[in-house]
């Protein structure tokens, strides 16, 4: 990976946001809507449901924040590619001395930046509006964030690979792919509430361990390091798989001339 190439590609993204601040709306608006909806639902449940309801209902707010980290990281990779498609700049990039590693490295950085912006905003607002302190997860927050970023990157690469393979008509996958897995990811409810067969799907997703882990930390203050390690291991498998898929699809795209089709549509 060449760092000056990565820097240049990231710089392009930064210019894009500083040139058109309206893009920040996309980065801030939807997370804010989710926070408000789930935040007020949490308050409603806390005040109106009986004592047998778990007191740690604030995990819904934590879930909104952590889900957004995964989603923004995925978007960082997938939207980065689409920006080049929309501006008919794709051939300029892929006919330049940019390796797959340079390209993916810059999408990771952009994904991380996007996740940071929304996480900081959501953390501050959840503190102000609902007295939910994301830092109450203490040091466990770091491995949680790290794992969600990695899984987000992996999903982003898969989304991009599918778009490259199926063409511009598949653009909506950039937004849809994370939501394919959300019902099984234990974001808002524990894995045990899923039907048995779907629990196996959930256990195959590294993010389900993170959301379960978050609930454990908020409930008991304890981190299940074994499951966190399992999530990390799974994450690296997914990341490697997504990387191989991306490279193979790019090779296929070169064989079938798919990249040139993006610039002519």
């Amino acid at each position: 990976m060449n760092f000056s190439t990565v820097r240049a590609l990231v710089l392009r993204y930064l210019y894009l946001y500083t040139r058109t601040p309206i893009r920040m709306v996309e980065l801030l608006f939807w997370p804010l809507v989710h926070l408000l909806v789930w935040g007020y639902l949490t308050q409603f449940l806390q005040q109106n449901v009986g004592d047998d309801f778990p007191h740690e209902i604030t995990f819904l707010i934590g879930a909104v924040i952590l889900w957004d980290i995964l989603f923004r990281a995925q978007q960082g990779v997938a939207i980065f590619f689409l920006e080049d498609v929309w501006s008919r700049n794709l051939l300029n990039i892929f006919a330049a001395p940019v390796t797959n590693a340079d390209y993916l490295g810059s999408t990771y950085v952009v994904g991380m930046m996007r996740a940071t912006v929304t996480t900081v905003m959501l953390a501050v607002l959840s503190m102000l509006l609902y007295s939910f302190n994301v830092l109450s997860m203490s040091w466990a927050l770091l491995p949680f964030v790290f794992n969600l970023l990695i899984f987000g990157w992996a999903l982003g690469m898969v989304s991009t690979a599918l778009i490259v393979r199926w063409g511009p008509a598949a653009e909506s996958l950039a937004w849809a792919v994370p939501f394919f897995i959300q019902p099984f990811a234990a974001v808002y409810y524990p894995v045990e509430y899923l039907p048995t067969a779907l629990q196996w799907v959930a256990k195959a997703l590294p993010c389900s361990y993170i959301f379960e882990g978050m609930r454990d930390v908020l409930k008991t203050g304890e981190v299940n390091w074994g499951e966190l390690g399992l999530a990390t291991g799974l994450n690296f498998i997914y990341l490697a798989f997504a990387g191989v898929l991306f490279v193979r699809v790019m090779n296929t795209a070169r064989e079938k001339g798919l990249l040139t089709k993006f610039s002519s549509q």
Binding site: R12, R19, S87, N92, A95, P97, N251, E255, K256, T260
Partner: protein, 254 residues
């Protein structure tokens, strides 16, 4: 004779049942400008895309600077560049921002100065702070050319660079192309439908038809070979039938 900068042999590209490029071979010597001519669908752009490494050949070999393209792709791409009428630079960035990004990707030294140089060369220095998407088609094409010249490419691929330009600007672009060949020793592969471009700029021309190169030679040799008065006549004749042996109308008269 100067060594070949680009050497293409037996290059074929098949998409399903369609053969876009069919076993073409050509080479370009250092400092030479070769015009690749042919009607729409002749295979010129596919050939250029293969030389850029964004389309993988089905068969054949591409050597640039004496190295096989796919095995030394990044190293080779650093020393070449391209401008195509089919691409644009991001329209929501300013002209200087676009050039800065590509300058960094191509590792251009003294980038700020080089950006000013290429903008001056293409006579769009006054547009440096303009948003790229607000440029006219001609200005946008010249910005693309600025990007292509940033890294002082030793091999430059120009795919219909004057397609959207008025005659005045097209003339200036032709002069720039000759200037970078003369002053910087660039080797250029040039596709165009504009025969005036070709006559003025290219040292040799290669006529393509249905994926094959029918004839390669200087403009004079080509006219003599096809027994036509202008390259435009040759172009039309090749586009309509690909007849290369001799002029059938003249044969009938004799």
């Amino acid at each position: 004779m100067e060594p070949s900068v680009l050497q293409v042999s037996g290059l074929t590209k098949t998409f399903g049942n369609v053969t876009s490029v069919n076993g073409i071979s050509f080479e370009i010597a250092k400092g030479e400008i070769l015009g690749l001519l042919g009607a729409n669908g002749a295979g010129k752009t596919t050939a250029i895309n293969m030389v850029l490494g964004i389309v993988t050949p089905t068969e054949g070999r591409i050597e640039v600077f004496g190295k096989e393209l796919m095995s030394s792709r990044i190293e080779i791409l650093r020393r070449m560049n391209f401008c195509s009428t089919y691409t644009q630079l991001p329209g929501n960035l300013r002209v200087w921002q676009n050039l800065k990004i590509f300058g960094q990707i191509y590792r251009v030294k003294d980038l700020k100065r080089r950006i000013d140089e290429v903008l001056e060369m293409l006579e769009i220095a006054h547009l440096k702070n303009r948003v790229s998407g607000e440029l006219s088609a001609g200005e946008g094409t010249r910005l693309n050319l600025c990007k292509a010249l940033l890294n002082r490419p030793e091999l430059l691929l120009l795919d219909e660079p004057t397609a959207s330009l008025d005659p005045d600007i097209a003339d200036k672009v032709r002069k720039v192309v000759k200037r970078i060949r003369d002053e910087e020793g660039a080797t250029i592969l040039y596709t165009s439908h504009n025969m005036r471009d070709v006559e003025e700029v290219c040292d040799r021309v290669a006529f393509m038809h249905k994926g094959k190169i029918l004839y390669t030679g200087t403009a004079e040799e080509t006219l003599h070979h096809f027994e036509e008065k202008s390259l435009e006549d040759v172009f039309i004749r090749v586009a309509r039938g690909g007849e290369i042996k001799s002029n059938p109308a003249k044969e009938e008269k004799s």
